[in-house]
Symmetry: C2
Subunit: 376 residues, 2 copies
């Protein structure tokens, strides 16, 4: 039996319970349905959120449910929205999400990309008028199920200071790229183009810990080590590569800009500071970029699968920096965490569980998440 | 008249001369032709090399000419090679470079990508059996001339330590993405997925300066500040994001891995340590990945051009970190440097000029580079 591994460990453990994954999914889906989201669409959103929790990306998991139901309540998120194809060619489409749930829009946009790539080899679907869609990697993995390479980007609310500027001007604009493999896990690169996601600063604030200098700057451009100052004084996260250009900060900022151009400017969605939060009154108009490449159109699939296994072996066989070091393939930690949590349950902070209970009451839905045990 | 700006300033100035750009191009082309490269192909290579010098990326400029002529002499580079399409679909092609000059192979591969994108909207061309191709941005800009977004990647000789490992295991594997604009310059992101390129370490070594801790590690995994130790003891460059995972080093390493999978594993080219140097006896078998997106297939071109100008204005208008700070759009510095050097000449180090003279003698070609003046 595979070893138990979790990318993120519940700390302190006595503040968490473990819940059964399928019951969590059904619950989230039921809450969304109560907010007039169709059953099919509710199931998609629930699967994206719970997959994030399974993968150890709790910041993007069910703790965000409230954000989406609030978005529906304030009228920013349209629960009935259906994707509309604005323009298409043999290998491209521009789609409008109708300000619906980002997960539903992104899922369906990637399905279009997959069908087009099946026909012609490679495809791009640009998405405008969407919302925050959770983890980018989820949609990249859709392509993997069809023997394809998936590439997914989204722009997002401005939190990052562009190089040589202060203040929040660009999103953490993540890039996800996934590749099928012969043996699981598939390769899944999924990363914000900033040094860290904002969720990490929130965790440090909660735990009263200082953040390393080089993660964030004050509105005056001073490096910050107090996470609360980052959050309350509207500090900005630094791009991957950090402050200035000495360690490549302009590369991280440049990648964030490229994502904004592909997701916002190409599609006609918002960009930079114009991208709104899910719960703002004004529609968020988030943009996404989806790319699918049908591997078999370029090279026999079995050859590709042999080569990628060889590559994984190559990386795993590199000389470790220390005795205790572990060498990871992108996506491997998330995958092991998912396998572990399917067996022993998803750790949910008691405060989040309470919030979910409140959601169930608001929605008039039975609170039937199956708690397996306290983690402590 | 536009102000004079150079991304890299000749230092110390008295070691440099300025040469006229077209005469440099003709000279490089003539030398390559003497090595049995066709006139058409020689002109492509010369243009790629001189464009790098014009853009202030001297590490990839004419100082590399010797590397390519040596590659031909040792038999690794085939001067007569023609690109062969191995497999194709409506929007994809896998091509074999026949171990020819990387510049020629990449140029022609991108031309195929552009034609396919013109027909169907988006295209991918995978390239195997190529060589070092110089600056990735050159090929991305080919797409821009056709109103397209270009994305270009290449793997390269191993110089970077993958996260949690020591030694040189992956290339600096650059990514270039370019976008047309209404007003020049086009947006051109072009960056190695490592903190810095190896050329920067060489410059610090030459100038007897210490490098910042966080650029490179020793074979034992110690951070290095002596550039000579990096070069002579086979130290490794760190991925963008630096050492370990605290500042996102795993993201830079993950991007390098994604580039290796797209360029090496997808195409059947070499990857990791297997990628050979241009002058090694064994064929390098470098792999490239080319993507072109025909913007007009997704959105009216004039709308896109309006939006991207707005975006440039947005970035340029952000609050500067200090009075002296300048905010740059990716590609802007290189473009201004190019405009400047077309007017006042390209600075060439006297040692490089001497090397070029030696090349002319070896090739039996007239040494007719037009020197404009000493830079001091």
């Amino acid at each position: 039996m595979a070893r138990l591994f979790e990318k993120t460990v519940p700390a302190p453990p006595n503040e968490y319970v473990r819940v059964e994954c399928e019951s969590l999914k059904s619950f989230v889906s039921a809450v969304l349905s109560a907010f007039k989201v169709s059953e099919e669409h509710s199931r998609i959103v629930a699967d994206v959120l719970v997959t994030a929790d399974l993968m150890g990306i709790e910041s993007h998991g069910v703790q965000r449910l409230k954000r989406y139901t609030m978005g529906i309540q304030v009228g920013s998120v349209n629960p009935h929205a259906c994707l509309k194809v604005v323009k298409k060619s043999a290998s491209t489409a521009l789609v409008d999400g109708g300000s619906g749930l980002g997960q539903v829009t992104a899922y369906n946009a990637m399905e279009i990309a997959i069908r087009k790539a099946e026909e012609v080899g490679v495809s791009v679907v640009g998405v405008r008028n969407s919302h925050h869609f959770g983890i980018a990697g989820y949609y990249a993995l859709q392509a993997v199920k069809h023997g394809m390479i998936g590439m997914v980007m989204t722009n997002s609310e401005a939190l990052v200071a562009y190089t040589h500027t202060v203040g929040r001007s660009v999103g953490t604009n993540p890039i996800a790229v996934s590749f099928p493999t012969k043996n699981p896990p598939p390769v899944l690169f999924d990363a914000a183009t900033s040094v860290i996601p904002i969720g990490k600063v929130e965790v440090y604030a909660k735990e009263n810990k200082k953040i390393p200098l080089g993660w964030a700057i004050s509105p005056e451009g001073k490096l910050l080590d107090d996470p609360k100052e980052v959050l309350t004084r509207k500090g900005a996260i630094l791009p991957l590569g950090g402050f200035g250009e000495d360690f490549g900060g302009h590369k991280g900022a440049g990648l964030a800009l490229v994502v904004d151009l592909l997701c916002g400017v190409l599609t006609g969605a918002n960009y930079g500071k114009n991208v709104k939060h899910t719960t703002d009154k004004e529609r968020a108009n988030v943009g996404h970029f989806m790319l699918a490449i049908d591997i078999a159109k370029l090279t026999p699939m079995e050859d590709f699968l042999e080569r990628i296994e060889e590559y994984k072996g190559y990386v795993k066989g590199l000389t470790k920096a220390s005795e205790e070091a572990e060498v990871w393939i992108p996506g491997e930690k998330a995958w092991l965490t998912m396998e572990t949590r399917k067996r022993i349950g998803i750790p949910i902070h008691k405060n989040i569980l309470k919030e979910l209970k409140e959601e169930s009451e608001k929605a008039g839905v039975e609170f039937n998440i199956k708690v397996l045990k306290e983690t402590a």
